[in-house]
Symmetry: C2
DNA sequence: TTTGTTGCAAAACGTTTGCAGCCTC
DNA sequence: GAGGCTGCAAACGTTTTGCAACAAA
């Protein structure tokens, strides 16, 4: 995994992608990229749109359009966790794509594990070229486990 | 991993879940379970509903309701791959939850790998109890890789 | 100048919900 | 008999789309 990248590097990668695929370098696209760069953690389109429009004029449609481009450029990763809306995550450099998801409360936590990462990254396929991966572990967080345990005790 | 289970066993597990959680054993629920049991591969709610209603009367709302119950009973697993709709997969016995997903055409293929499985299953967390996992490897299938390669060659 | 991109609003889509009647318990 | 479950249709919320105006190339 690469080290974290500066905004200049990320901007360069995006520019390269846009050029190679004959897309235009619009101010909106760079504004969204910069906003995402400075954002910490997971986000969704609506959240990004709301926090951006406080001091920049963009439409939600453009946000979606740009997120698609950035996904294609491998600068962000999309997660469909809750079912209601998609979540996005930066993919600038050293990022973790392992998630613990509580089946009860829906809370998402990240973790890293060298052995898991190695076993996945060393796997190759003859008819498939892997670019990135996402691992989701589902289960119960400690709070929900306790909560459900108490409920069961009550109903007896 | 367990061996594949007979319908009687699966039905028994569902009945047990319904009883333990004080849900009713309605004919619709068993009809949906049986239909899923005989279904091969991934499916979605609409597909299930359409193929069922050819010879059984159920509403889409009941299908969704029942899928939720079966998920809670750990009899099926939900995948949110494409963004448009959720996909479900049987979890009766020996199932694989590793997926190769082509970022270009969206095709999904399953694979199994002992080392990956072991590294994930041996991992434990102090504040989280894992029940199941899903691993998604994104990339390009051989067809799309060739296709995109040819397109790039053309545009030069 | 050309045509890809934008903003806006309306439409689309899968999924959820409200409600009256039904049927399991 | 009580109340969880059903079917139906309408509502929901996220995402996509159509179109005229705009601006990057």
């Amino acid at each position: 995994m690469k080290a974290n990248q500066s905004y200049e590097q990320v901007r360069g990668l995006f520019t390269q992608y846009l050029k190679e695929n004959q897309h235009r370098k619009t101010p909106e696209r760079y504004a969204i990229l910069e906003h995402i760069y400075n954002y910490v953690g997971h986000f969704n389109a609506e959240l990004l749109y709301n926090s951006m429009t406080e001091n920049y004029r963009v439409s939600l449609a453009t946000v979606y359009n740009t997120l698609d481009l950035m996904m294609a450029a491998n600068l962000i990763v999309k997660h469909q966790l809750g079912g209601q809306f998609a979540q996005y995550e930066k993919n600038f450099g050293s990022n973790i794509h392992n998630h613990l998801i509580c089946s009860n409360c829906g809370k998402v936590k990240e973790f890293s594990d060298k052995q898991i990462r190695t076993s996945i990254q060393t796997k190759t396929f003859s008819l498939f070229e892997v670019s990135h991966y996402s691992l989701y572990l589902f289960g119960l967080c400690s709070k929900c486990k306790e909560l459900l345990h108490n409920e069961n005790a009550k109903s007896l």
